[in-house]
Every structure is written in structure tokens, then in C-alpha cells.
């Protein structure tokens, strides 16, 4: 009797709970766009800082690009800088770049944007020199001169054709001089810019809410609010988008999760141009990688197609140059030099010609968390293809990111995994960064011809001349093989039915422009 009464209570409670659950279901989507829509973006990417002087990571830069603005920007689908907070910008000479500023622009706190803010923003970034920041990108800047209220001139230490591109990065975002500290990184609870969105709330490690800025000088965004919800695990993010808790799941669903979501009712998987790459770096001063023949044989043996298909379920493409597909000057230099598929015979011949005894022992390092869970499978696949050739015995070693970078960038690893997102969508960012003699990779690679070509492309504002230099750098690098490019990843998002505009923002600049994203009512 008592038990049956208890059962009735449980049954009643279950009905109430289910009733509440049913109340939460949404209405069917209507074809027309919803005015003042709230877009919910789920991600597993944590933010470092929303201060341009305190961050050099993709998630933070993405928020900065939505909340703040730069003098010039890359428009959706574009590949050249166009004015944003500037009305116009141009070189006076190869070392002097002048911008005329837009008038009538205000920051979110109501203060007016002006030339002093521009000078302040660059000076503080360089002055703070935060270890997590990107002040290194502004290395060619010698001085920002305020010519008058609406004109600034950048004096560069050397001719630098990439300067307009650097001005498009979040490191060059403009902050108000009367609110931000000149010497300290700004708190994430007080983020101010001139962008389309202001920060309405930030709960660290949890949620960021952006609201459309009413006094924005340009066209209003396609939504009135964006909530960015942070997830610890991609599996939780996947469930959230399946259940409609979030509208967009963008970064970082695994390849398996994306495959599982593809074709599900009410969901769409959107893929777009992406310039994220992965590569294997050789320390050319360490045995056996100091032998060019060994590096060439590895480049000929690694099975990129197998990695793309077996490990990443076709969500990435094999890469045959450090300058990815989609950027000016790209050529498939490695495919031209060594072929697209593994050439074990050719590799055997190269090693034989060099008089090397096989199998050769290789030690390759990779890092387990930083580039996602699939790194383990990727490097197992690399090990498999190299060992299957009979030419190599591979020992894989791994360690977590902090210790990893400390050792890798001080030349302690003979060969190691690395990845790259663009600072700006220009081949210089992919070639000069890795092949110049003073590269951060610390892999001992130096080629005077490559250094000269880098100097040429940096000094030239003639795009044809730059492209020729880029192509030649790629050809030489494919012959020298200090690095083997592995794959290039597309940008992938899973979105709920009725979400629009995500395709438009997927381009090589890697900026997720929330203002383009709308929602059917």
C-alpha cells in the first residue's frame, strides 16, 4: 500500500518533469528572417584575453574582430585589405604608410574614436609586450605619428608590403585611450571597442554574451545578440547542437562527430575554405635529419591521403606546400617534386644514392592535447607509412603543450609536429614565418636565396613580383625539405536549420563574422 502510494508520487513527478520538458520545445522554423534574433554559438575553444595586447590565439582574436575594429580589414571572401576604421590608407613610400580616419565613429562607452586612440593602441601593445600577446607582429613598426585628428602615419623600420595585412589582425585593433591602461592588459570584464557588438556579459570559462551596438557607424548585424557558450568536451557540444541548445557548433567537433551529424534532420554541416595547416618540422642540424636524402625520403613516403581519409574522415585535404590552397602564389611544390602518393621506390633510391643504410632510426615528437585527440592517430599513421616502407624505424614521443613548445623551439627535438592558423591571409605569413633564417622553429634551416626572396616579397608592393617570389620559395623549400606539409583543414560548422550566413564568413582570413549570421523566424 505504502509502496503503491510512493509509485504514484514518482509517476506524477515524472509527468510534471516531462511536461516541463515539452514546454521547452521550439516552434517550427519559418522561412522569413527573425528580427533581433539571438544566435547561440557553442565552442570548445577557450579564450586567452579580449585585449589586443594580451592575446595571440584564434578564439580571442575572433571575439576581438567582432567587438573591436581595425583600420583596414579583409572583407568576407576577400584577400586584400580594405578600409574599415580608416577611410583610406596608402604607402607614401615603402617605409611610410598613412591612413585617413573615418569620422563620427564612437566606442561602446560613448567616447569618440580618433587618431590619438590609434597611436595609443599600437604603442601600448608594443610597450606591454605581453608573453601571451602578439606584439611581435608589430616588429617592423618604428613609430606611429599623429599628423592631425584624422590622419596617422606609420613609420616602418624597413620596407614591409605585409603591413596592410598586419593592420587587419586583432593585434592592430583599436582601443579607447581614456579607458585602457598603457602598461597593463585590460580586464576581460571591461572590453571596449568600436565594433558591431559590445560585451554584455562574460562568465569566464562559461559564457560570453555580445549585443549589437546601437550607435555602430556601419550596417547593423543580421542578429541582435550572440551568446558564445563554452564546452569542455566536443561530445557535449555535439549533443547540444543536436538538441537545439546551441544554433552553431563551430570548433572543435571531431571528424567522427561531424560525420555523425551529417545528414541528421534539422542540422546542416557547413564546410568552407580554411587555411589551418599541420606539418612536420625537421631539425636539419640533428642526425639523421641533417641528411637531405633522409628528409627527401620521408617526404616521399608519408601517406597524406591515408591521414586525410583514415584519420580525419576526409575533413582535411593533403597539403603539398606550406602556402595553403586559397592564398596567392600557392603551388603544389611537394607534389611536383615527389608526387602526390607515396613513392617507396624513389625514396629507397634516394637513400641508396646517399649511401645510407636502411632501416634508419627516427625519433618524432608530437603533442597530445593542443591539436586535438586525433593527433595520436595522425602520428600512428605517419609511423605506419614510414615503417611499412622498410626504410625507417620510428619512435614516437609526446608531451603536453607547454613543455613541448619549450623544448621544440629551443632545438631539442630532432623532428616534431606543429600546426598553424593564419595571422593574416597572405603567403608571407606561411612562408617567411617558417623558412627565414630567424624562424621561431629553431630547426637550424637557413638558405640565403630564400632569405633574399623573402626580403624581395616583403619590400615589394607589386603583387606579380611577390607571387613570383612566393612560388620560388616553395620550390626551393620542397628541394631542401626543412618541413614536410601534411594537411590543410577546411572550416567546419554544424548549424541548426534556419541559420544563415555561416558559409559567407568561411574564408582564408579565419574570422568568424557573427554579424553575417541570421536566423529564420
Amino acid at each position: 500500500m505504502e509502496a503503491s502510494r510512493w509509485l504514484r508520487v514518482v509517476a506524477l513527478a515524472s509527468v510534471l518533469v516531462l511536461g516541463m520538458a515539452a514546454c521547452g520545445e521550439g516552434e517550427p522554423a519559418q522561412p522569413e528572417a527573425e528580427q533581433g534574433a539571438t544566435i547561440i554559438h557553442g565552442t570548445t575553444d577557450p579564450w586567452q584575453s579580449f585585449d589586443p595586447a594580451g592575446s595571440y590565439d584564434l578564439p580571442s582574436w575572433n571575439i576581438i574582430q567582432n567587438v573591436m575594429e581595425t583600420l583596414v580589414t579583409i572583407e568576407p571572401g576577400g584577400d586584400t585589405p580594405v578600409p574599415q576604421l580608416a577611410e583610406s590608407c596608402d604607402y607614401d613610400d615603402p617605409q611610410t604608410y598613412t591612413c585617413t580616419l573615418r569620422q563620427g565613429v564612437t566606442f561602446h562607452d560613448g567616447s569618440a574614436f580618433g587618431a590619438d586612440d590609434v597611436k595609443f593602441s599600437f604603442d601600448r601593445n608594443i610597450g606591454i609586450e605581453d608573453p601571451e600577446g602578439a606584439s611581435s607582429l608589430l616588429a617592423s613598426l618604428e613609430e606611429v605619428e599623429v599628423v592631425d585628428d584624422s590622419t596617422v602615419t606609420f613609420h616602418l623600420g624597413a620596407a614591409d608590403s605585409t603591413w596592410p595585412f598586419i593592420l587587419t589582425t586583432a593585434a592592430a585593433a583599436i582601443v579607447p585611450s581614456d579607458t585602457y591602461s598603457e602598461t597593463e592588459v585590460q580586464s576581460d570584464q571591461n572590453v571596449i571597442g568600436t565594433g558591431r557588438y559590445s560585451v554584455a556579459e562574460f562568465r569566464p570559462g562559461e559564457q560570453l554574451v555580445l549585443e549589437a551596438y546601437e550607435d555602430y557607424w556601419g550596417d547593423p548585424p543580421a542578429n541582435s545578440r550572440v551568446i558564445v557558450q563554452l564546452f569542455d568536451q566536443s561530445s557535449a557540444l555535439k549533443l547540444a547542437v543536436e538538441q537545439g541548445e546551441v544554433d552553431i557548433a563551430y570548433r572543435n567537433l571531431t571528424a567522427t562527430e561531424i560525420e555523425d551529424l551529417r545528414g541528421q534532420e534539422g542540422l546542416e554541416v557547413i564546410e568552407g575554405n580554411g587555411t589551418e595547416i599541420r606539418y612536420l618540422v625537421f631539425n636539419v642540424e640533428e642526425e639523421p635529419f641533417d641528411e637531405l636524402a633522409v628528409r627527401k625520403a620521408i617526404a616521399m613516403t608519408i601517406d597524406r591521403q591515408a591521414i586525410a581519409e583514415n584519420v580525419y574522415n576526409g575533413t582535411v585535404e593533403p597539403l603539398y606546400s606550406m602556402n595553403p590552397v586559397g592564398l596567392a602564389g600557392h603551388i603544389d611544390a611537394f607534389a611536383d617534386e615527389y608526387g602526390e602518393t607515396p613513392d617507396v621506390e624513389g625514396a629507397t633510391q634516394v637513400l641508396e644514392d646517399a649511401g645510407l643504410d636502411v632501416p634508419l632510426d627516427l625519433e618524432i615528437w608530437w603533442t597530445p592535447s593542443h591539436y586535438g585527440d586525433l593527433s595520436a592517430d595522425e602520428y600512428t599513421e605517419i609511423q605506419r607509412s614510414l615503417e611499412e616502407s622498410g626504410l625507417f624505424n620510428v619512435t614516437l614521443e609526446s608531451t603536453e603543450w607547454d613543455a613541448y613548445t619549450e623544448a621544440a623551439f629551443t632545438g631539442q627535438y630532432p623532428a616534431y609536429q606543429l600546426g598553424w592558423f593564419p595571422d593574416y591571409p597572405d603567403a608571407d605569413n606561411y612562408l617567411a614565418s617558417f623558412y627565414s633564417s630567424d624562424t621561431f622553429l629553431a630547426n637550424g634551416y637557413s638558405n640565403r636565396e630564400v632569405d633574399d626572396l623573402i626580403a624581395t616579397e616583403k619590400a615589394s608592393t607589386d603583387q606579380a613580383e611577390r607571387v613570383a617570389a612566393f612560388e620560388e620559395i616553395q620550390r626551393i623549400a620542397a628541394e631542401d625539405v626543412p618541413i614536410v606539409p601534411i594537411w590543410q583543414g577546411a572550416q567546419v560548422a554544424a548549424v541548426r536549420e534556419g541559420i544563415t550566413g555561416v558559409e559567407e564568413t568561411f574564408d582564408p582570413s579565419f574570422v568568424f563574422r557573427y554579424w553575417l549570421v541570421g536566423k529564420a523566424a
Binding site: 509502496a3 539571438t38 557558450q229 549533443l239 541548445e245
Partner: protein
């Protein structure tokens, strides 16, 4: 009666006095453990990314170049005044973090404890009362399986069944993103905040989000209660006073409910205190599984960032909470069972 009150007060004072060295021992252990790890907090968080001189300047500014004893005394003083420091990785006062994320953990653990007691005690009572029947067998099986199952396994199972396949319940977060932004949260306890605001639709949303994580965590602890209560019921049902009650001709229902069950529940109070520590550690796993923004999630995030100040602050706070609850449970136990005081 007067003698009893005096005795309880004396017991409480003694227990409080004994808690102080425990707290001191705990704080010392936390401090030493954090220092046993290589380097100081600044070097751990920023080492390798700052020039050596800048690293040294920051170490000096934070006082990590001073003798360990001086740092220890300062740490004790800070904790005594409620100052747990500021995180190295994102410059956030640890007390803010505790207020915001601690409330999420509190909401989860309290609900889980209530569920654990309700389910665990309920099943244990039924199991004990109907010994060696299918009900008892079912109850015992439930207790063992639930206790033995890892939290994340139960969590994933719940997510798959009730979230993915049935679509009844949300599987992550404390509330829908819009609700957690729009709801005014003066206490950071969302259930309470929704009630204060009179926002019943938000309350429904919050409760729906609470069901799976709280049930997952609660069931695991509930397994312990089930086994304990069952054994106690079996023992008390064989007690002399129960036999005496039966001999007096009292109806069996009265014998069981008024005499046996009440006494069988006394040890549950003691175990509840011990289980609270388990509950807090279980919360770390539950929070990870359900994307619950509590102290456990933050602890893992700051461990990843090698932010020792944040980790030290969170561990210190959790340790203090466990001691406080243990003392509280002892008080309750002494009040319920006078034998404890002697």
C-alpha cells in the same frame, strides 16, 4: 534535560576546538603540496614564455623569492581573512571564482545529496524490510551496480538515453544559454534565483538541466546509503526492543516504521558527512561530463593552465567546506544520538 543541554554544548565546543588543528593541518598540506610541485606559481604558469629577467621581476613582485616560512604565514593570514589570491592565468580574484562557480557546485551537490538520501534510503528500507524477496534482490543489485559504476559512465548513459534518444532532457550546462544570461542571479544558485525572480519558465528550464547531472551524482552516493540502510534495518528488526514492541501487540506497520526504521537511519547521518567529501570529488567528474560550470570544471581548467594560485585557492576552499560539513554532521549526530556525546 539541563544536563543534556550542557553536555551537547560541551561536545560542540570540544568538536570545534578539535576542528582547528585539522584545518591547520589541511592548510599546511595544501600549501606544501603546491610548493612540492616544481617551481613557483609564476614560473609554472608563465615559464618559457617570458624572458628570465621579467619572470624574476614577477616572482619578486608576487613575493615568491621570500623564505617558505614567510610565505606560509602570509598564506595562513590571507586564508583567515578570506583572501585566496588572484589567478595567474586570467587575473581573476579566486573569491569571485568561488562565489560564482562554487554556487553551481553547491546547487549540484545539494540536489544530488537530497536525491541520494531519498533514493538510497528508500531502496535500502524496502530492501531491508522485505529481506530475501525479489524486492530485496532488486534493491541489493541496484545498490551494488550503482555504487560500482563510474560516474562518467552513468552520466554518458543518461545523456544518451534521456538526451540523445528520447530527447527529454538537456545534457549540458546549468540552463539554456539565453536563460543563464537573462536571469538575474544575485545568489548564483539558479534555482533560488529563478524563484526569487518569480520566473517559472526559467525555473523549469533550470530544473530540466539539473535532473541528469544531479541524478548521476546522487545515484552513485545513493548506492552507499542503500547498502547501509538495508543492513541497519535488518539489525534493528532483530533488536530486543522491536521484539518487545511486537510482544506488546503493536501492529507490524507501527513496529517497522516507528521503532525499526527510525533507529536504522541514525548511522546514515554520520555517513552523510563522510559522503559529502566523496560527493565533492564526484562533482568534478559530473561537472566535466555535463559541462556544469562549477568549481570542479574550473579546477581542471586551471590545472591545465598550471595556475597554482587558482588550484590552491579552490582546494583550500573545498577542504574547508569538507571540514565544516564534517563538524556540522557531528553536531547533528550528537543531537540525534545522545550516546555520541559520552
Amino acid at each position: 534535560m539541563a544536563r543534556q543541554t550542557t553536555s551537547l554544548r560541551k561536545y560542540a565546543l570540544t568538536r570545534l576546538a578539535l576542528a582547528l588543528p585539522i584545518v591547520l593541518l589541511l592548510l599546511t598540506m595544501v600549501f606544501l603540496l603546491m610548493r612540492v610541485a616544481p617551481g613557483d606559481p609564476i614560473s609554472a604558469a608563465l615559464g618559457g614564455r617570458l624572458p628570465a629577467e621579467e619572470l624574476e621581476r614577477r616572482r619578486e613582485a608576487a613575493g615568491y623569492d621570500r623564505p617558505l616560512v614567510v610565505q606560509y604565514v602570509e598564506y595562513l593570514g590571507d586564508v583567515a581573512t578570506g583572501d585566496f589570491g588572484t589567478t595567474v592565468s586570467d587575473n581573476r580574484p579566486v573569491m569571485n571564482l568561488i562565489a560564482q562557480n562554487g554556487a553551481a557546485t553547491l546547487e549540484l551537490t545539494l540536489t544530488a545529496m537530497v536525491l541520494a538520501v531519498l533514493v538510497g534510503v528508500g531502496v535500502g528500507l524496502v530492501s531491508g524490510r522485505f529481506r530475501d524477496t525479489p524486492l530485496d534482490f532488486g534493491g541489493r543489485l541496484f545498490g551494488i551496480v550503482i555504487y560500482a559504476a563510474p560516474i562518467f559512465f552513468l552520466g554518458f548513459l543518461g545523456q544518451l538515453i534521456f538526451g540523445k534518444y528520447l530527447g527529454w532532457l538537456p545534457t549540458s550546462g546549468r540552463a539554456s544559454p539565453v536563460v543563464s544570461f537573462e536571469l538575474d542571479t544575485p545568489t548564483n544558485l539558479f534555482v533560488l534565483d529563478a524563484i526569487i525572480a518569480g520566473d517559472w519558465s526559467a525555473l523549469g528550464d533550470i530544473l530540466r538541466h539539473l535532473i541528469l547531472p544531479a541524478t548521476t551524482l546522487g545515484l552513485v552516493i545513493g548506492g552507499v546509503f542503500t547498502r547501509l540502510v538495508r543492513v541497519n534495518v535488518l539489525q534493528t528488526l532483530q533488536g530486543d526492543y522491536v521484539e518487545a514492541a511486537r510482544a506488546r501487540g503493536l501492529p507490524e506497520r507501527n513496529v517497522v516504521f516507528r521503532h525499526a526504521f527510525k533507529n536504522a537511519l541514525v548511522p546514515v547521518v554520520t555517513v552523510m558527512g563522510l559522503q559529502f567529501a566523496l560527493l565533492l570529488s564526484g562533482a568534478v567528474l559530473t561537472e566535466q561530463t555535463f559541462n556544469w560550470p562549477g568549481l570542479g570544471s574550473e579546477l581542471i581548467r586551471y590545472l591545465d593552465n598550471r595556475d597554482y594560485i587558482a588550484v590552491q585557492g579552490i582546494i583550500t576552499f573545498v577542504a574547508l567546506v569538507v571540514v565544516a560539513i564534517s563538524v556540522l554532521i557531528d553536531f547533528v549526530n550528537a543531537w540525534v544520538d545522545p550516546r555520541v556525546r559520552y
